[in-house]
Amino acid sequence: MTASRGAMAALAVLTGFVFLLLYGPLLLPIVSSFFVVKQGAMLWDQPTLQAYGALTQNDGILDALRNTAMVGVSAVVLSLAIGTGLALYVNGGSDAGRQFLQFLVFLPFLLPPIIIGLSLLIFFREIDFPRSLVTVIIGHTVFVLALVYRIVLVRLQALSRSLVEASYDLGASGWQTFRLVLLPNLTGAMAGAAVLAFALSFDETMITILVTGTQNTLPIRLWAMMRLGFTPDINALVTLILAFTTALCLVAARYLTPRELLAEES
């Protein structure tokens, strides 16, 4: 991609605006987490870490957070594995079967979550599969699969077919070709898909409520809290989550950048 300096400046301004859009809403809870809030107003002269203290005591929320993270990570790992596999398979042809498969993958994504939640719940009930975090993970995987699948597929289609041919030609097995040739070229897309998928799982309420056993996840708790209002420690929680994920992402960026890309610039 290239752009003239003027265009770059315009783009930068726009990007700045988008950053504002995305980060603006985050500021409020972050800032409020450090101050006493009384009568709906923030008391600027009363900075405090009370909220953080309260958070450490809130076992229910911390439990929910742990569950959420576990579900999210599992769902991301599963959907990456399955989604990539499916993308590879579907990319191998264009027959009706593959079209149908594609349709199946997309269905849970586009149906209202309550439908997915209910049908899975009924399904699990019928086959007598106990509801637990496992069923939640399955539900989330089914839900975010389409996203991972589609992102990986788009990237796959952009990859030159001749690379795969060259790999086979040199005697590589299908798996070796995947691991050594395709995967390195897919990592960017997969990492991106993983973040999006995790985000979806992280916020997913309806399916979760329906297929969970006796465990809560964070969105369930927040969803339920809406009735009575959020406690200040929630602000502390989201602030911490944000700080943590930002740090994680910056570290990830170090490893995500393809080496050939860096080499090219030197």
């Binding site: 509801r131 309420t205 006796t214 809560n216 369930i220 339920a224 809290m225 809406m226």
Partner: protein, 318 residues
């Protein structure tokens, strides 16, 4: 032997951590609570699992009937709930509480409630109103906030019109109410959907009266934000919701479930519940509703869809 397990599906505030811990210590049971956000989810979850995923769930009296109809509940053995005898008079005799019994059996134990009253600005509305009729007062034209919900609006308007059973309207009554609502519409500034929204509109506009779908809690929030407001339950009767504990048909340890219900009917817990949520509880008197206030417990209405359609027509009316 394996630890006993109790699975609860509840609203926020109905099974706080400290109560759960105390109960667990007392009984040695393992309690897990899943929190819920809407009535619809409760139904989907309980119906979808045919009652198998939980032992106890919180449900309001209007919703309860369908669970009983669908055979998703189990009747209580009142002997196992001695604390019920200590409940407020209004809730002591369950035959007097609409809808918790069926065929002589008790299917739900009331837990907490709140009225749907009227918030008024003490500076602007004088003297203090007593009836919902004030919403139609031309004096307050453009200063009224109403709630955007067909079902409840029909019910409270019916009450205001003096109709005995606001939940089962005849077609004629329905039409009568509809006309009255159209009149109301011309008096309101806006319909709101959340308490927060009402507060925001209140802060930014000249608002005198708010039909308080969110009850006392809503008023408290407004007072916290510095508003000069007060709350009444109308003399013709105030709609009120009443949440109860119901036992699922799939209850695994009935004894334990009844122990929990009995446990939360303690005075101490009732007190805490009211303090923390602002709702009225069924064991200790709370400011939510005076003993004398006439509360009309919400019931399943004759045809929710019909009301919703009519409500749309009202909003579209000139």
């Amino acid at each position: 032997a394996q630890a006993k397990e109790l699975r609860i599906l509840a609203w926020q505030g109905y099974a706080d951590d400290d109560w759960v811990k105390e109960f667990e210590q007392k009984t040695g049971a393992d309690v897990s609570v899943v929190f819920i956000g809407t009535d619809d989810e409760i139904w989907a979850k309980i119906k979808g699992s045919e009652g198998k995923d939980f032992d106890l769930f919180a449900v309001n009296t209007a919703q309860l009937q369908r669970y009983i109809d669908a055979g998703l509940t189990t009747a209580y053995d009142l002997d196992k709930i001695p604390n019920l005898k200590e409940a407020l008079p209004r809730f002591r005799d369950l035959t007097q509480v609409g809808g918790v019994m069926r065929d002589g059996k008790v299917y739900a134990i009331p837990l907490c409630f709140d009225s749907i009253g009227l918030i008024y600005d003490t500076d602007k509305v004088k003297p203090a109103p007593t009836s919902m009729e004030v919403l139609w007062d031309p004096k307050y034209k453009g200063k009224v906030l109403a709630y955007d919900n067909g079902e409840h609006n029909f019910s409270f308007t019916a009450l205001t019109l003096g109709i005995q059973d606001p939940f089962h309207l005849t077609p004629e009554q329905m039409d009568q109410v509809k006309q009255k609502l159209i009149a109301l519409k011309h008096n309101v500034l806006s319909f709101y959907t959340t308490a927060d929204e009402a507060l925001q509109i209140y802060q930014n506009n000249d608002v005198a009266l708010i039909w308080a779908n969110y009850g006392q809690q809503q008023m408290k929030a407004m007072q916290d934000a510095g508003a000069h407001v007060a709350y009444i339950n109308a003399s013709e009767g105030a709609l009120a919701w009443l949440d109860t504990w119901a036992m699922t048909s799939g209850v695994q340890d009935k004894d334990l479930a009844e122990q929990w219900v009995n446990f939360v009917l303690q005075k101490k817990i009732g007190q805490q519940l009211s303090e923390r949520t602002g709702f009225g509880n069924t064991v200790v008197p709370a400011p939510s509703a005076g003993e004398k206030d006439k509360l009309v417990w919400l019931q399943l209405v004759e045809d929710p869809l019909k009301r919703s359609d009519l409500w749309n027509e009202i909003k579209a009316a000139p």
